[in-house]
Amino acid sequence: MMNELALGFSVAALAKGVIITLVVTLASSLVAIVLGLIVGLIRISLLWPLRWFGVAYIEFFRGTSMLVQVYWWFFVLPIFGVALSPWTVAIFGIGMNVSGYGAELVRAAIQGVDRGQYEASIALNLPRLTAMRRIFLPQAIRAMLPAWGNLLIDLLKSTSLIFFITITELTTASKLAADATGNYLLFFAVALFGYYVIARALITPLVRWLERRFSRGFVREAQA
């Protein structure tokens, strides 16, 4: 009887943990994508102060530990009078860290666009920003999507770190459930497959869909 009750509570807590992991993954992915795109573009700006800022941003967020960064936002910033909620820290702490890697993907993909495309844009007198938006970015996005897929799967798995700032996400919930019921095999198996299923059912199809969308004209396909 006692055992069943514990099991019931544990399953409910686990379901909540899954939802929290999903929400944090989604929100911090958005932060990572938006900031990664902005910083990646800034990183190759013609203006050196912007470029310099981009380099500093990437070096900081990519070069130091994600957990230590999260600790800074959560435990150190309050010393300076800035108290952030665990949710804000989770979403922006993870998102900004990953955006450092993302910015490098953006930079590399844009610089990897064929030189002929730049030359054609100059020959057609396209303004730099228009050329970036209409010509280079669509081609760069297609090239960087597989790498972003990897990065977002990695981000998903990094969300377990927010246990350290008091949020009970999937890994924590599994551990608590396992502790409460003594069934370590079951609950850690659930956690193991839980991440896999989220990655496989959400991130991979999303990236595949985007890849198809941005591949118009790159792959020979039947005439519509």
Binding site: A120, A123, N125, L126, P127, Q139, G217
Partner: protein, 289 residues
């Protein structure tokens, strides 16, 4: 008496109108007689390697000039400098009577800023060896992108014009195809239509048939031939198609070692080359055919 005065006034008025007309004609004549493109003592270096050395070349309005020469002779660099894809190290390039690479500031010539470059560059169009079509856009989209965002045409206007141009290059049935669905010759014809959509006064062709299968060369050359006869375009073309250069151009320039070694009407240059290196080059090229 007053009638006489009115008559005189009318006469002087007419005279001044005539004067203005004369001035206008003189201005037009001056514009017509000044070259469309002028390279004035232009030099291009990569580090210590000198690619072009004191280039002086005038190209008249509507003149068709072919540039031939061995690889590494600087012939493609001439086009790339004119398209502002390469900075020049010395000299000035003029287009349509105004400096392209420089601008006047307080009575002095200073290197052109981006705004000046963009304005003067608008008179020039270029077709590349490797097409450089935008792969994510259809043939039609390739041809309307710049007219809309640079010339400010409405989408409808731009599409009508683009459709006309695609029709002119014989591709009206391919306008909704992506570049990957087109043959090399078709791609190059789209590239020509795309360049023309910007209404350039000068068209540059950089070895536009070199990347094509031999049987597709003709369709592209036919389009260029048609352009030359039906449009008021100054054309500058780097090519290895000697027969086409001979038939099409008003003048052929033979580049060697970063200089124009010899230039002249095609009959003279192909028929009676003066320079030893020209003779060698031509016999080697013609032998290979």
């Amino acid at each position: 008496m007053s009638e006489t005065i009115v008559g005189l006034e009318n006469l002087t008025k007419r005279c001044s109108v005539l004067e203005e007309l004369k001035l206008g004609i003189a201005r037009t004549e001056k514009v017509m007689s000044e070259p469309m493109v002028r390279f004035e003592n232009v030099a291009k270096r990569y580090g210590t390697l000198s690619v072009l050395d004191e280039l002086n070349l005038d190209i008249a309005r509507n003149e068709k000039v072919c540039i031939i020469g061995p690889s590494g002779s600087g012939k493609t660099t001439v086009l790339r400098m004119l398209m502002t894809l390469e900075r020049i190290n010395e000299g000035v390039i003029w287009v349509d009577g105004e400096p392209l690479t420089h601008m006047r500031k307080n009575g002095q010539m200073v290197p052109a800023n981006e705004r000046h470059l963009r304005r003067v560059r608008g008179k020039i169009g270029m077709v590349f060896q490797h097409f450089n079509l935008f792969p994510h856009m259809t043939a039609l989209q390739n041809c309307v992108e710049a007219p809309i965002s640079v010339l400010g045409l409405s989408r409808q206007e731009a599409e009508t014009r683009a459709a006309e141009l695609l029709d002119m290059v014989g591709l009206s049935d391919k306008k909704n195809h992506f570049p990957i669905q087109l043959s090399g010759g078709q791609k190059q014809r789209v590239a020509i239509a795309r360049a023309l959509a910007m209404r350039p006064k000068v068209m540059l062709f950089d070895e536009v048939t070199s990347a094509l299968d031999p049987e597709l060369v003709g369709e592209v050359l036919n389009v260029i031939r048609k352009l030359g006869t039906e449009h008021d375009l100054t054309m500058l073309m780097v090519t290895h198609q000697m027969a086409f250069a001979k038939e099409f151009s008003d003048r052929v320039c033979f580049f060697y070692g970063g200089k124009i070694a010899e230039q002249g009407p095609p009959d003279q240059l192909f028929g009676d080359p003066q320079h030893e290196r020209t003779r060698q080059f031509l016999s080697a090229v013609l032998e290979a055919r």
